[in-house]
């Protein structure tokens, strides 16, 4: 019994220590930083110091995290106030009880399924022998592929048995090595780089799968941050709009800043951020379509009466 009490005490101490170390205070904002063209506005916001322009005393904490899932976990743990991800992972989290909402969109982007197999011209030609690399089940790439399968074959999970989970760079390497992976569902810049290689061609675009335009990356904030730090929240929203506007107005200068950060040539970045179909915009498109599809196929049970329950909708109606 004595031992038991000692252990319980140790556990209690541990809990107290753990619970004390992840609270964001007022005057602070913690943002998950990610690399990639889709996240360009965040990089611009950071480099141009847009947040500090509104409040020089604001304590901005940038956190580097590997992927959407890690960001979701960090936000759950209270280490990160604001993160960026595609709509489906946001919905899965919301459905499972994450207290977070959409702030606004970052961009609309070409996504697509590409292959090097010459005799494959559409998803009809994909067989059980093929292997499709994509980031993870439940990712936007996976859901878009499932949407296309639902439309074409009335079977959303038709390709689920030939999927291979791979981060974008790994997926690209695997596709280019032409071994096991025969197709890759990916996003810029990987899709641009792959399509630049001979014989690799696109057989499905995200737009076709969805049947319209949709926002690729959205900004997501915890309700706790929104409710407890309304001023910082507003500063963030304004800065994000500034950053998006900056990329639209000064793509050359934006490319210069990003080239330094990403160590890719300025020309290439400029080409990529002005690629047809790449739009930096705060508008949020496609949320309802994703929800409808993911409910129908059982990925989520999310129920909501009004979109405001899951989104603060801070979009500027700029007509893109």
């Amino acid at each position: 019994m004595k031992k038991f009490i000692v252990i319980i005490n140790l556990l209690l101490i541990l809990i107290l220590i753990l619970s004390g170390c992840n609270n964001t205070q007022t005057g602070q904002i913690s943002i998950a930083e990610q690399y990639g063209l889709a996240y360009a506005p965040i990089q611009i916001m950071k480099e141009k110091g847009f947040l500090k322009a509104y409040d020089p005393d604001l304590d901005v904490k940038w956190k580097q995290l590997g992927n959407t899932v890690a960001i979701r976990e960090a936000m759950l743990a209270g280490n990160v106030d604001i993160g960026f991800m595609a709509i489906p992972p946001f919905l899965i989290g919301r459905d499972k009880g994450m207290k977070w909402k959409i702030i606004n969109g970052l961009n609309i982007s070409p996504l697509g399924l590409v292959t090097y197999k010459e005799n494959v011209d559409s998803i009809d030609d994909i067989t059980v022998e093929d292997r499709i690399a994509l980031p993870q089940p439940g990712s936007i790439q996976h859901i878009l592929l499932a949407m296309a399968c639902e439309k074409r074959f009335s079977n959303a999970s038709k390709f689920d048995d030939i999927l291979v989970t791979m981060a974008h760079p790994d997926g690209m390497n695997a596709l280019l090595s032409r071994k096991e992976i025969t197709a890759h569902f990916t996003s810029p810049p990987y899709i641009f780089e792959e399509l630049a290689v001979g014989n690799i061609h696109q057989i499905l675009s995200g737009k076709e799968a969805m049947g319209g335009e949709f926002t690729f990356i959205i900004g997501v904030g915890t309700e706790k941050f929104h409710d407890n730090n309304p001023e910082n929240y507003q500063i963030f929203v304004k800065s994000l709009h500034d950053a998006i506007e900056f990329i639209k107005q000064n793509p050359e200068e934006a490319a210069k800043i990003l080239a330094n950060k990403y160590e890719i040539s300025e020309e290439k970045i400029l080409k990529y951020i002005t690629w047809p179909g790449m739009k930096y915009t705060s508008s949020i498109k496609g949320v309802e379509q994703f929800i409808d599809f993911m409910q129908k196929t059982g990925y989520i049970n999310l129920k909501y009466n009004d979109i405001s329950e899951i989104s603060w909708g801070e979009e500027t109606h700029d007509g893109q």
Partner: protein
């Protein structure tokens, strides 16, 4: 004695579960972070009932046994070779020194490019994790055998193979078993991390894939359920297989108490 050991383990296990449950019930943490024991068990139960988990356990265990068998064969060949000549011994020592501290995870990007993301890649990672500690232990085991044992064998007129089988193998068994235990633990870790990183080719996934999938769909009780299964298998292998083998061999022969 034996009952006592199991009883003790059970009591500890129960106490830890109770402490867990208390914390979960206290409401200090969101149930998303700290699910209660019964939610974990319920998730575990439904995964077992659906057949999903069982299939994945079998898949994982079959990969691990393939990896272990390949490593055993290779390790035996390498350590026997190293006994035959000093040059080979030098080479193998260098290989062990280079590869032993290298985590399998560090090799993953290369393995992925060279072998693709299928079963073979996971088996290669397992073999890499197991083979070096095994070789190290086997060589130490062989070297620790006093010269006099072999001479006795020669006196009896045994040939090299007979000496290896009848004298060297049993005499180095404690080292081999120790190496094998380390190898098993490392194989198990390598397997789970490889599966979590490579994912799986659709329906063919193991326990690591189970956890990964639960993670991406934000099913935290499911993540815990996977961990519980890993713990159970680890304890069972240790208590049932290794304990038995030790009792039947080295302990029976009086080499280890």
């Amino acid at each position: 004695m034996m009952d006592n050991k199991y009883l003790q383990k059970m009591i500890w296990f129960f106490l830890l579960a109770a402490a867990w449950e208390l914390i979960a019930l206290s409401g200090w943490f969101s149930p998303l972070i700290f699910p209660s024991v019964e939610t974990i068990l319920r998730t575990l139960y439904s995964s077992i009932i659906s057949g999903e988990l069982l299939q994945q356990v079998i898949f994982s265990l079959s990969l691990i046994s393939q990896g272990l068998i390949i490593s055993l064969l290779l390790a035996f060949i390498m350590s026997l070779l190293s006994l035959t000549s000093n040059t080979i011994a030098g080479l193998i020592d260098t290989l062990v020194a280079m590869a032993h501290p290298l985590p399998g995870i560090a090799l993953m990007p290369l393995v992925l490019i060279w072998f693709g993301a299928g079963r073979s890649a996971i088996i290669i990672i397992i073999v890499h994790s197991v083979i070096w500690p095994l070789v190290l232990n086997l060589i130490t085991g062989f070297r620790s055998i006093p010269q006099i044992y072999r001479l006795v064998g020669k006196n009896y007129g045994l040939n090299t193979v007979e000496i290896m089988w009848n004298i060297m193998a049993p005499a180095s068994l404690p080292y081999f078993l120790a190496g094998f235990k380390i190898g098993w633990a490392r194989a198990w870790r390598a397997l789970i991390s490889a599966e979590m990183l490579f994912g799986a080719a659709g329906s063919f996934g193991g326990l690591g894939w189970y956890i990964f999938k639960k993670r991406v769909f934000f099913d935290i009780p499911g993540v815990f359920a996977g961990i519980v299964v890993i713990i159970i298998i680890g304890v069972l292998v240790e208590d049932l297989i290794f304990d038995k083998i030790e009792k039947m061999t080295v302990k029976k022969w009086g080499m280890q108490t």
